[in-house]
Amino acid sequence: MPLFSFAKKKVKSIPLTQNQDRGILVFENTSEVIRAENILKTEGLKIRVMGPPPEIRTGCDLVIEFPLIEKLYILRKLDEVRVKPIQVVPVSNTLLKPVDLFHIKDFGNYIMIRAANMKLTIDKETMIIVNISDGGCPDVPYLASEMIGKHLSDAPSPRSIGHTLCGYALQLAYEEMQTRCSR
C-alpha cells in the first residue's frame, strides 16, 4: 500500500544536478500523488515518488519523478482520470519553462508556425496540412504520417496521438494554427 510505505520510510529528495532526462509532477495533495502513482505504474512507466527539491514551494511534500520526454503521454493518462498536476517541471532546472514564443512565416500560398522545436505548415486556401518539420522524438515521423494531407479540422491532434515533448510542442503549433485560421 503506497500510503503506508510513505509513512514508514523516509522519502529521498530529488537531487538537482542528476537525472537530466527526468521531470517532476507536483500535486495539490498526497492522495492525488498516490492516485497518479498507481495509474502511471499500471501503464508501465518508470516513475518514482520522491520529496520535492527546495525550489518547489507549492503542492504537497511528495512529487512524482518521471521521464520528461514522455510528458504528453503522461498528462493524457492523468487527464483521463481527472488527476491534474499543478506543476510540471524538469528536474535539471525547476525554473525552466517551455518555449512559448510562436514564429510565423508566410510563404504566400502557405503559412508555417513554429512552436519551440516543431514546425507545422498548411495550405492557406485548402487548410490542408502539407508539412511537419524539425523535432527529434520518435513520434514526430508518426505524427507527420497521420496528419499530413488532412484538413486542419480533420487531422488528429498531437495531444490525442503523440507522446513526447516534441509532440507537445507540435500541439502548441497546431492550436496556434487553429486559432489564427478561425479569425
Binding site: 520526454i69 524538469p90 535539471s92 525552466l96 518555449v99 508539412n131 515521423p141 508518426y142 505524427l143
Partner: protein, 296 residues
Amino acid sequence: MLAVVGTIPDKNFPLVAGEVVVQNDELKVQGHSFGINRGTPALIAAVCKTLDFLKNPLPFAYLVGDTGLGDGSRRLYKFLADHIRTAQFTTMAFHYLQPDVDWCNRIMFAIEEIASRPVLIADAGSMYMAKMSGNAPLFDLFTPDAGELAFLADEDAPHPFYTRGFILHEENLAPDLIKRAYTHENASRYILVKGERDYIADKDGIIAVVDSPNEPALEPIGGTGDALTGIVSALIESGMETSKAAVIAARVNILAGNYTMPTPATQISDIIENIPRALDFVLNSAERFDTVKNIE
C-alpha cells in the same frame, strides 16, 4: 561499413539488424520494407543514394518500430548493448530514438569496447540524449537545426522544448550559440548546423558556411535535415575527412532541394531522388570545398 541506428514510425515494425537492400524502389532490412519518408527512413534513403553513387556498399541498419512510447527504442538499446561490442563498423549514425540518458551511457560503454572505434554521428533524439548524458564530446559530428543548436547552447535545457528564452532560435545568432555549446562541452568534435545558412564548425569556430542557392521553401519540408545527415554519414563512410564531408553534404542537400523546385508542400522523397544529380555536380565542380569561407 556504415551502420544506421533509428526507429520506424510503425509500432508493428519488428527489431531488425541487417544490411539494407533496395528492391523495386523499396528499402528492406531482413525482409521488412519501409516507406521513404521523414525520419530514419529518409536518412537511410539518402545514405543509400550517396553510397550507391560513390559505388560503396549499402549500409547496415538497426531499426525498430516506435511511435513515441519509447518501448521500441528501449528494446533496441538493449540489443545494441548486448551486440555492439563485436561489431566492425567504421561509421555509426544514431538517429530518431527515444532519448534515455541511462541507456545512452550503456551504449557508449559498449562502443568504447569496440576494438576499432567507429566515427560517431548523432542527430534528432540521439543527439538530445548525447547532450543530456554529458557524452557529446565523444561524438564526431552533430547535425542540429537552429532550434536544436539553441538547445545544445543552453547548458540547463533537458530538451529543445525547454530552451531558455534568452537563447533565441535565431539563425543569425548561430556563431555565438556554437561557441556557447562548445564552452559547456555540449557539442561534438564537429558540428553541422542546418538552416537557411548551414554552418560547419568545431571548437575553434566556424569552418565554412553554405548558403547558396537560397531556397526558403526548404525550411517547412520535413526530412531535409534527415537527408543531410544521411549524405554526410555516407561521405564520411567513403573516407572523406569529416569537416570536408560536412561542407560537401550541405552543398549537395541544398542543390538537391533546388533541383526539385520546391514549395512548402514538397515531400522529402522527391528531394532524395535528386541527390545523385547534386553529388555529380558538386563532386565534379571546380569549386574547392576544403577552404574556409569568411563570413564576416
